[in-house]
Structures are given as C-alpha cells and as structure tokens.
Amino acid sequence: MTPVTGIDFERISLCDALDLAVLIEEEARDRYRELAEQLAVHDTPEVADFFARMARIEEHHRSELLERRQTLFGSAPSRVSRSNLFDVEAPEYEQARAFMGVRQALETVLAAEVKAYSFFCEALPRVKDPESKTLFEELRDEEVQHQSMVKAELARCPDRPDDSEAYADDPVAQ
C-alpha cells in the first residue's frame, strides 16, 4: 500500500520533490503533536514530552527543507498537497498506548523512520530527474542516520517492562 498517491515519480521535478519532502516532515510533526496531546490527556507525561520533542525535531527538518525550496523556487505554486500523503514518516496511531514507556515510544519512532526510509528506497528507482534523484538519495541516507540515532537511544534506555497493561481499565459488567 503506497503511502503517497497521485504523484508520478517518473516526472517529479526538484520543486515537487522538495514540496513533498516538506510535507512528509510536516505530516510527521503534526502526528507527533497529536500523540503528545493524547498521551498528556491519558496521564503519560514522560512519553508525551518525548513525542513533543520529536514534533520539534520534525519541524526543524521541515524548516530546513522549506528554506531550500524557497531559495531555489521562491513562491512558485506547489503541485503537491497533504492529500497525497498517508503516513509516510508519521507514526501510526495504533502504536500509541496509554501509560506506554519511553522504550515503546522510541520503538514507535524507529518504526516511523524505517517507513520513511522504505518509501524513499521504493520511490528512487522510478525517479528520472537527476536533481530529484539526488534529493531523494540524500533524504534516504538521512533516514538511516535518524535510525542510528534512535537505536543508540534505545540501547541507553532501560529495558523496563511495558506498563500500559498494568493500568488498563478492567472490563465491567454493567
């Protein structure tokens, strides 16, 4: 199931590719913000803060890409919109759990980075424009770096058992 629809990668231009990259980061940013809000509401402050930090990181990536786009193409209209994307790098909703630990949160982030890496790997063979190809290769390689950083954090993270089931509501015969 492709996470990007309505885009012909054989004809994608550098401007389109940058716009897509910006939106991928934006989608991820928005999802991390949502997950942070959900977990704050559900008394999971440590992971809520962690996801809020991830949202800031994604916003940083987004801003850098946007700056590149604006430098090269100014205010040229974009042909790509959020409706073309379905969770390219955004972590999936079903990964979150009330009372989840930081370890599980890191695993969620890792899964999201792996997804993004897979997307660029799958798209690259279809991209014909050399500049777009170079950009996608760069972004693919960045995802590898991100994965390494998350794995390093995971290695430092204590392997505590997941607390989410301990606090789960018990069913009630009403």
Binding site: S83, Y93, A168, D169
Partner: protein
Amino acid sequence: MTALAAAEYKSPLKPIWCPGCGDYGVVQALYRALSAIGRAPHEIAFISGIGCSSRIPGYTTAYGFNTVHGRALPIAQGVKLANPDLLVIVAGGDGDGFSIGGGHVPHAIRRNIDITYLVMDNQVYGLTKGQLSPTSPRGLKTVTSPLGSLEAPINPLLTVLAYGAGFVAQATPADMPGMTALIEEAIRYPGFSFVNIQSPCITFGEEEQQLKAHKARMTPLASLGHDPSNQLAALDLARSYGAELHTGVFYRNPSPPPSYDTLVRQRETELQRGEPRPRTQVLEAY
C-alpha cells in the same frame, strides 16, 4: 469555492479516545474526505448517538448533534428533511446502530434519504467498558458473557444490503487511503449510503481484531474482481463478515432512485401548483 484543507474540518477539541483507538484514523479520513468534497463546515451536519465513535461531531468544525442512544438515524433524517441543502453524516458504533438503534435502520434505508451512515464496528461496547455487542462473535467471553456468547452476531453488511441500501461498503483504518476514498464515495452517493468501518477498540477489543491483524487479513473486493453493481454477488460476499475482512464497495446501485428528500421537494412543488385550499377543506379530507 476555494477548497478547504483537511485541517479546516478539525475542531480544537482534543479527542479523549484511548491512544491507539481506530477512531483516530477514521476521523482523519473524514477530514480528508470532506476536504476532497469541498463543502464548507457550515454546510455539513454530523449526527451521532452514544458511544466512543459518537463523539465524532465534537471533533469537527461542522454542525454537530450528539443525540441519544440509538436515535441518530431518525434525528438525522429530520435534520435532512428540514434543511435538504445540508450534507448530513451519521456516526455511531455497532451497539448504537444495531442494538438499541436497530429498529431505525430499515426505515432510514427504505426511505433512501440522502444521508451517509458510518458505523464504527468494533464488536464490543467500548465506552461502557467491555460488554458484548450485537456484532460480537459467538463464543466471545466478555464480562456479560463470561462463559462465552451463545448468540449469533448480527451481520451489518448483510442486514443493510437486505434492506435495500443503495451503497454499502466496508473499510478499516489499516488502509487509510482506501478508507478515505470510500467515505468520500459514500458521501457523494445520491441516497442512503452505509460504510461499516472495522475500527478496533484498543482497550477492550480482542487481539485478532486490532489493526495489525487487519493489515494481514484484509482483502480488497476489487482484487477479487467483484462487480459492485451486482447486488446478489454483494450479498454473497457479505455473508463472510466476521470470517473475512473484505474492504471496498460491496454494492453501489448503478441507477440510484430519487432520494426521499428529492421526492418530498417534488411533492411540495406539485402541491404548490394547485390553488391554495382553505385549512378547513384540507382537514375535511382527513
């Protein structure tokens, strides 16, 4: 009208659903579908009953009416008849729709009012913490069926098809692009449309009902070569509800009849053509 971004349909109210709930995906798909359709929030009304999924009206910037348990359909029909220009979407769960609300389903369908009914089917009463629902599979152990349910579940797809609905589909948040497209198509269908959305309860649902399992077992109807204009084929496929997770359009009436609201307006026009009659004459006719 300038197309609105999906985010324009999202209200500032933060959902209180459990993290991991399937309904987060559903509401995202709704925002996207509404953006694709392009109607402004003030031209849309969400009507719901009671349950986790019935909270959806509050999470949109459209008009919303979170009504009483099982009564979303009659109220939605009233809303549509009173203001036919509104896009009316009904949201609710399997309990709201097929248990307490079950008596309203055949009449909403046979009237063919132009509303879209989205049922978030999770085979459990989630809001009230894990009781058996009308779509729970036989044998399921819950707090109200500790020895295992003895009841055969209602098949919502077969039920709605048998009552004659002109548009019947099934979706899952495990396929976001597919679900978004189906919701949009259902809203665009000119008449009563129904989408059964397998939206798992992360807290009280069974492991095999979660989205990870959906991804492994879902089968798009298009991949089976199913012709959605074939009602009998749709009925046959719908029988496998519970055993299979078929996604896509089961049935789409290739020649949709006029909706009830259209017929009402035609009737009103016809009645206005004649000479106005005094009230007493009208009453005497009865």
